[in-house]
């Protein structure tokens, strides 16, 4: 009797964890590495979802359509960075206001151009046998973990990653060492956008794609980035784990709405206790620990 309940809780956790990771990771790259608060993050997700939906409607297989969605969003981010975003580096609050404006424009343009819904995409792979939910959610979780691993490899092990991190750390020095910093910013922004597009593409089969589609990711993404703190990967993982646990537990006890509210309240309390996020607290602790030795 207890086992299926436990399985359900576990499944719920995996589902929410994957959602928060995928919703957050693009935003976290752009915020953590570039200091741009992208309030149009939800609309980047929207670009991925719409492109995927239309590609499926045009007859592409789902996986290929999703790839198209990711690439289209990355290209979109690249253009936007060249045109607007690069004027906003170092202007944190201005970046927030401008991207908010972009978000308003994009939502409304989407509505004008495509109406109130995109073509539907069916959920692949069918239902799970034991717990109540589609197999597809497990695929999403695997992809989420894969994305985190891939990002780690990209930024830690490749030449590009070293250059990108050097640019974010100290632009002047990086440039004097021969790094094309402008290109690093553009590329990093495009990667962040592509990751947002991936979230949109992956959730296109699960959630109805409307012009407000992006806003359903926005809250989780922002909360997770802030709770996570400035260290992109570790912060995303820890914050998603923490928020996912709270959300899954309360959803199980008192329904979806209470899960959502409990998660947001937990986030507010977490920010109050850890103003620099979980990773900020960790580095403080590490410092203290180092001193006492």
């Amino acid at each position: 009797m207890a086992t299926p309940e436990l399985l359900n809780l576990g499944f719920e956790f995996v589902e929410i964890f994957a959602f928060i990771v995928l919703a957050t990771v693009g935003l976290a790259v752009i915020f953590g590495m570039m200091g741009i608060i992208n309030l149009a993050h939800g609309e980047f997700i929207l670009v991925g979802a719409y492109t995927t939906s239309f590609a499926v409607a045009a007859g592409l297989p789902l996986a290929a359509a999703m790839a198209v969605g990711v690439l289209a969003t990355a290209a979109f981010g690249l253009v936007l960075e060249r045109l607007i975003i690069r004027r906003l580096y170092g202007r944190l609050l201005d970046s927030m206001v401008v991207t908010w404006g972009i978000s308003l424009v994009m939502i409304q343009l989407t509505r004008i151009a495509f109406g109130n819904t995109a073509p539907g995409v069916g959920i692949p792979f069918g239902q799970l046998p034991v717990v109540d939910g589609p197999v597809y959610y497990l695929v999403l979780a695997v992809v989420a973990v894969g994305v985190l691993g891939g990002l780690y490899a990209l930024f830690m092990w490749t030449d590009f990653g070293v250059r990108a991190r050097a640019t974010m750390q100290d632009e002047a020095t990086a440039r004097s060492m021969g790094v094309d910093t402008d290109r690093m910013y553009t590329a990093t922004f495009a990667i962040g956008s592509g990751l947002a597009g991936l979230a949109g593409a992956l959730y296109a089969p699960v959630m109805t794609v409307t012009p407000e589609y992006g806003t359903s990711f926005l809250v989780e993404a922002f909360v997770a980035v802030v709770v996570g703190g400035s260290s992109v990967l570790l912060g995303t993982i820890l914050a998603s784990g923490f928020l996912g646990t709270v959300n899954a537990a309360f959803t199980n006890l008192a329904g979806t709405f209470m899960g959502q509210v409990a998660m947001l309240v937990a986030a507010i309390v977490a920010i109050r206790l850890m103003p620099d996020g979980i990773t900020g607290l960790l580095s403080d602790l590490r410092e203290k620990w180092g001193e006492s030795e």
């Binding site: 944190l92 206001v97 401008v98 404006g101 424009v105 509210v261 507010i268 103003p275």
Partner: protein
């Protein structure tokens, strides 16, 4: 900075409202201000009942914009959830006034709504500023609070979500919010549509003058110093945490008042006031008008909402596209906003004017 007492008979009267933190410390400015208030006051006379009905909503929005410009422009706190206090004020008025269906109820409702929104802002401000939450985290936290309220009020459709006779009503909102009134029992003054317009205009003008006096007081200097360099201000012995807390609370109180004026005008309030688009609007007004200019924010709020309304009337879908593009354009081209840019142009023009009579006025404004 120095106010010239030989500027006219009203100089003594003007003095509390003038100083380095506001623009327009000249007789000409005050004349213009008086003309603007007169024109606004004449609108219902010229265009009738309907103009008063619509205009009051714009004025209530302008008051909301001012509450944000005050804390953002002068203290550096960007609250993306200023609408939270606006909505709390509106809902609180509705709950009290619906439960006490006499003039006492409306009077109590007004007091209770401002008190509740002030307390809410104080609680959130205490929680954030005394907890060491800073900069962008404050912005995101306030936004999250607004969105939590949106989620919460949105699911209150069921009959169990009622406070006394007042049903919160979920996404359908709370209808039957009474008109604003001052009185006890059935004796008193009921504030109808046109009177409501004048009450809102009066509240806006009074708030504007009050905030002008405040930002040009010692507290205002301390606010601006906190905005410019918080740790240095703290080193000089100011309690910057308290300054931010106090400014945020005052902003919340004003936003709550604007929420009451909004809800009593429409006789209705719904969760969309907490929504993402609504949350963005005060930020848009303050950015476009100029967040360090209270009057610029008022002008931007009135102008943008008027254009938005006209576009909506004509059935155009382009309102949000235009407003969003305007926001992007202004922040990229005029980071300080329209009003400070205009002021700079005026100052440049005056300082190129060789007549010495204008020189003191010019110098006075440069010191802003």
């Amino acid at each position: 900075m120095s106010v010239d007492s030989s500027d006219g008979p009203l100089a003594g009267l003007r003095r509390p409202f003038e100083g380095p933190n506001t623009m327009g410390n000249t007789p000409a400015f005050w004349l213009g201000f008086a003309v603007a208030v007169t024109v606004l006051a004449a609108l219902p006379v010229l265009f009738g009942y309907y103009a008063a009905e619509i205009g009051a909503v714009f004025l209530a929005y302008a008051l909301l914009g001012v509450s944000l410009a005050f804390i953002w422009g002068y203290c550096g706190i960007l609250s993306f959830g200023q609408v939270a206090f606006f909505g709390i004020g509106g809902y609180a008025f509705g709950v009290v006034a619906i439960n006490v269906p006499t003039l006492t109820g409306a009077t109590l409702g007004l007091l209770a709504a401002v008190a509740v929104s002030t307390l809410a802002a104080a609680a959130l401000g205490y929680f954030m500023f005394y907890g060491g939450v800073r900069d962008v985290y404050v912005t995101i936290l306030t936004l999250v609070v607004a969105l939590v309220l949106y989620t919460f009020t949105g699911q209150t459709a069921g009959g169990e979500w009622a406070i006394g006779d007042a049903r919160l009503g979920g996404f359908n909102g709370m209808s039957g919010v009474p008109d604003l009134a001052i009185g006890i029992g059935s004796a008193g003054l009921e504030i109808g549509i046109v009177a409501h317009y004048y009450v809102t205009l009066g509240a806006l003008a009074a708030t504007y003058l009050g905030l002008r006096a405040l930002v040009n007081s010692r507290f205002g200097y301390a606010m601006v110093a906190t905005r410019e360099d918080e740790s240095r201000t703290e080193m000089f012995g100011y309690d910057t945490t308290f300054i931010k807390f106090a400014a945020f609370t005052i902003g919340g109180a004003i936003a709550g008042l604007s929420g009451v004026l909004f809800a009593t005008q429409n006789n209705y309030i719904d969760p969309s006031v907490f929504g993402i688009t609504a949350a963005a609007l005060p930020v848009v007004w303050a950015s476009v008008g100029g967040r360090t200019s209270l009057l610029g924010t008022v002008g931007a709020a009135l102008a943008i909402q008027f254009v938005d309304y006209q576009l909506a009337l004509s059935g155009s879908e382009w309102a949000l596209v235009i407003i969003g593009s305007l926001l992007v354009f202004v922040v990229l081209v005029m980071p300080e906003g329209v009003a400070p840019r205009l002021r700079d142009l005026v100052v440049d023009y005056r300082s190129s004017d060789p007549t010495p009579a204008d020189a003191p006025a010019g110098a006075e404004e440069v010191s802003d």
